[in-house]
Symmetry: C2
Subunit: 219 residues, 2 copies
């Protein structure tokens, strides 16, 4: 299972830049009537992401996703070339919605919300093992590494840096701080515990991360 998933990741770049974004397409029949293609696609991605995060790659099949989404296998294969392609798209779809970056105008509150959501995703769903194995495999797979940087960690870095830049404009954060470094000290610290799990990722850990870096640890 894992190997076919990873195989797909190797062609992730092509896949992401390719045909997976569907603006128009077929319609699907279901008990409650015909649905627009965009809706069908969204429901397939919802089902794929949920199955992946709830049960992991071992339980992930096109048949299960089709059944959960009320779509045909033919429709799924029209938009995704393989099971792995669908899994990857479903994974990012699920993670993206869970990890939306809040903007309440209070950076401490927004960082706490975001890091706690990330910690929960890593520990209470299969996402933690999925992403840990992907990062692990990327250490000896250049194509996978490039795809992860370009489509996963790069865009997620940008969202966090942008949020901190807005906070600086509001006068909440200090001039001269490199927010890219702060990303490594918040999300990177979580990946450290995910990949070298000497200690668990907890709600308290997430809270301490934000507290330490915002206020400093000096006496």
């Amino acid at each position: 299972m894992t190997s076919s998933f990873l195989w797909t990741l190797r062609s992730f770049k092509h896949f992401v830049n390719g045909s997976s974004i569907c603006q128009a397409g077929p319609v699907e029949k279901r008990g409650r009537g015909r649905r627009p293609a965009a809706q069908v696609r969204g429901e397939i991605l919802d089902a794929a992401g949920k199955l992946l995060l709830d049960e992991g790659m071992g339980a992930f099949t096109i048949e299960r996703v089709a059944a959960e989404a009320g779509a045909s296998k033919t429709t799924i294969y029209k938009w995704w070339a393989s099971k792995g392609a669908l899994a990857l798209d479903g994974y990012f779809h699920a993670v993206e919605s869970t990890l939306a970056f809040p903007d309440t105008g209070d950076i401490e509150r927004d960082l706490l919300t975001q890091i706690r959501a990330f910690a929960r995703l890593l520990t209470r769903t299969r996402a933690g093992r999925v992403i840990a194995e992907l990062i692990g495999q990327a250490q000896t797979d250049e194509d996978l590494a490039a795809a992860l940087l370009e489509h996963y960690s790069g865009p997620r870095r940008q969202l966090a840096v942008a949020a901190m830049e807005r906070a600086r404009e509001r006068g909440e954060l200090a001039a001269g701080v490199d927010f890219e470094v702060v990303v490594d000290q918040l999300w990177g610290a979580c990946y450290h515990r995910l990949l070298l799990p000497n200690l668990p990722i907890t709600e308290k850990f997430a809270t301490s991360l934000v507290r330490n870096v915002l206020r400093g640890i000096r006496a």
Copy 2:
């Protein structure tokens, strides 16, 4: 090369707890005369560590180490069961000496010294690629993961936490701070850039890590 090295890592626990620590043993002839066994062993580890960090696992052979250390292959095989066992011991030997934790009585200075040394090790030697591949492989290899946690990341965490506890006793660091979390925000942040290299590990990065967490990033 990598696979045989990793294979050895799987039996790392046995190896570390086993026969590799030599207190007495044979003596070795060399141009300048007979050397005590402990000295021979130290020179073999020096040569093994240097070869590994300078040239990587691809160039690592028992023959090369024997030649560099002025020892016989027979002597090396008396103490290390395989090339991988010697490589692993040499790696930790080399890393340990590079990453000694200074204790000058000034925690900011000591953290800067230590993190900068770690950053240099990861970027200017092969150690970065070696440890990245080990952590990567550990994501799907439970024995390797256990060995890394017990013999690598666990002991290194303890050194850092102990240094920060001494600083707190001196009144430099705040009460109530969980120093284990700070480890994730300093060394863990470096591993994040090592494993997901969107941005490089630089001297400036190392400096910013310490600055951010000690002083905080608030305006």
